[in-house]
């Protein structure tokens, strides 16, 4: 059967990547991207260069506006989807119009989680997932205000660093002493978290029981009874809520996310799903939601490969980056899966990495301003190249040469 029409619901990275990859892979039928907001944009800058005002909405567009026409992609903005009628092969829009299609790709993203803490509905309590969220937060921080960031994961840490650079008085509260420990390991998690205090933010270990109002501003009552504050604004950086309404109402399998197979197909093969709200089944195991930038892009490529019958992208080690206080952090694979941790470069210096090895192969790496090691590690992981911890540790070992098989076990010949 020749497919003539694909509808992508959602214009985030996963949705736009799906459309882009369909064209790259030679699909010449109709592509419609339905987006409930404005022109699709890239989210990573929302806690960094967009939040501090150095980039505007046009700068962070996922693709320049003419790109959609150039690729014959029908991008419909401010368009809601009411329901999917899979058996009839159509998508029903908010205005009741039915859009016929052969395949639907759900790229519905999600919203920032707002835990049910008393007082969290105060207008001074912010979240950060959209440009509107970022605009509101920036306006609230104008002129160097007192900000409490709840949650010291990636977005919380990035926003705290940005707010500090904007001249704010920043406090950061998290229930654990070393956020990200499960991702980067204990030592690096501790070091990354310590950047907050060394740059002048205040770090508090604790959970929030409720937010309360005082004449001086918002206060937060911690679970141990301590009161912190007052603050002018609070940012909740406590994760996302996957948007699964259409999947649920269409009777698709949803378990903490839209369940998809290796090729991004949902429990209805005419409906695929990509990006943050999905959980992929690989080798019979249901994975947690990935919720990372590159993962969303790869989902789109996989969905397009399934639809077009072309070769799917290579399954490589997952990779993400984050920035705080001018330091660029990257993680590839699962560093904490290793039985041996190897530090390359001087720990805590201008540029260094921690690599995890298991059974003589690299299983993950986390780096600070050390992009070459991450790119080498990624290839070492994917190729399962046997390596010696001692040669990885030696800064004179040229990892690029190691990968090319020239001098893999000896860097000492270099001056």
């Amino acid at each position: 059967m020749t497919l003539r029409s694909v509808v992508v619901v959602g214009g985030g990275l996963a949705g736009v990547s799906t459309a882009s990859e369909l064209r790259k892979r030679g699909y010449d039928g109709r592509i419609t991207v339905l987006e409930r907001g404005g022109v699709p944009y890239d989210r990573p800058p929302l806690s960094k260069s967009y939040l501090d005002g150095s980039k505007n909405e046009k700068d962070i567009a996922l693709q320049p506006e003419p790109w959609y026409d150039d690729h014959d992609i029908d991008l419909r903005l401010h368009t809601e989807v009411e329901s999917l009628r899979a058996s009839e092969g159509c998508v029903v829009l908010g205005d009741g119009i039915a859009l016929p299609c052969d395949r639907v790709v759900l790229a519905t993203g999600g919203s920032a989680a707002r835990p049910s803490i008393p007082g969290a509905d105060d207008s001074r309590v912010h979240v950060l997932r959209t440009t509107e969220d970022a605009d509101r937060l920036r306006a609230a921080l104008d002129g160097g205000k007192r900000l409490l960031v709840v949650g010291a994961g990636l977005i919380g840490a990035e926003a705290a660093a940005t707010a500090l650079a904007l001249g704010c008085d920043v406090s950061l509260v998290d229930p654990v002493a070393r956020p990200l420990e499960g991702v980067v390991g204990r030592g690096l998690a501790e070091w990354l978290h310590s950047l907050h205090t060394s740059h002048g933010s205040t770090v508090i270990e604790g959970g929030i029981a409720e937010f309360g109002d005082s004449v001086a501003g918002l206060e937060a009552v911690l679970t141990d009874g301590h009161i912190i504050g007052p603050f002018d604004a609070v940012l909740l950086g406590v994760g996302m809520r996957p948007e699964t309404r259409l999947a649920t109402t269409s009777g698709l399998l949803v378990e903490g996310g839209v369940v998809v197979d290796e090729a991004q197909r949902t429990s209805n093969p005419a409906i695929l799903a990509v990006g943050d709200p999905t959980r992929r089944t690989v080798d019979g195991l249901l994975r947690p939601r990935a919720e990372h930038w590159e993962a969303a892009q790869l989902d789109g490529a996989r969905a397009a490969s399934q639809i077009t019958g072309t070769v799917p992208p290579v399954e490589g080690a997952p990779w993400f980056w984050s920035d705080r206080y001018g330091r660029h952090v990257e993680v590839v694979g699962k560093p904490t899966d290793g039985d041996t941790a190897v530090v390359r470069g001087e720990f805590g210096s201008r540029s260094f990495s921690v690599l995890g090895l298991r059974g003589g192969v690299v299983v993950g790496a986390a780096s600070v301003d050390d992009p070459t090691t991450i790119r080498a590690a990624r290839r070492l992981i994917d190729r399962r190249t046997p390596v010696e911890a001692s040669s990885l540790e030696d800064p004179n070992t040229d990892l690029r040469k190691m990968l090319r098989g020239l001098g893999g076990d000896n860097g000492s010949e270099k001056s």
Partner: protein, 111 residues
């Protein structure tokens, strides 16, 4: 100008690596990334990634592409064409000639 601008000797760039040449030396609007592919060929692109501010000369060079060291957008060494987000604009390529082991570029000339 017909002979090009001499930037470096080929031995100064290891295979699979890049070197940044200041714009004042190259006579170009941006600094120049001289990038040497696995097969030894040398290419020249504008050094600043078209996405943000990373230096492509610090990127990973392999199989005809350079991968940006910040967010891993890939650019074709031959023509600068971008093949992966977050960058959406191509990098500006410059024609390169190697004569007697010296690298010359022709700023603004398509390869």
């Amino acid at each position: 100008m017909s002979e090009g601008v001499r930037l470096a000797s080929i031995d100064a760039i290891a295979v699979g690596e890049g070197v940044k040449i200041d714009r004042s030396v190259a006579g170009t609007a941006d600094d120049i990334a001289l990038l040497r592919d696995d097969d030894g060929q040398v290419y020249a692109l504008d050094d600043t990634c078209t996405h943000e501010t990373a230096s492509l000369s610090d990127g990973w060079v392999e199989d005809g592409f350079v991968e940006c060291p910040m967010h891993s957008s890939k650019f074709c060494l031959r023509n600068g064409e971008v093949s992966g987000l977050p960058a959406t604009k191509d990098a500006c390529p410059h024609r390169v000639e190697v004569r007697d082991g010296e690298i010359y570029i022709f700023p603004g000339e398509a390869p």
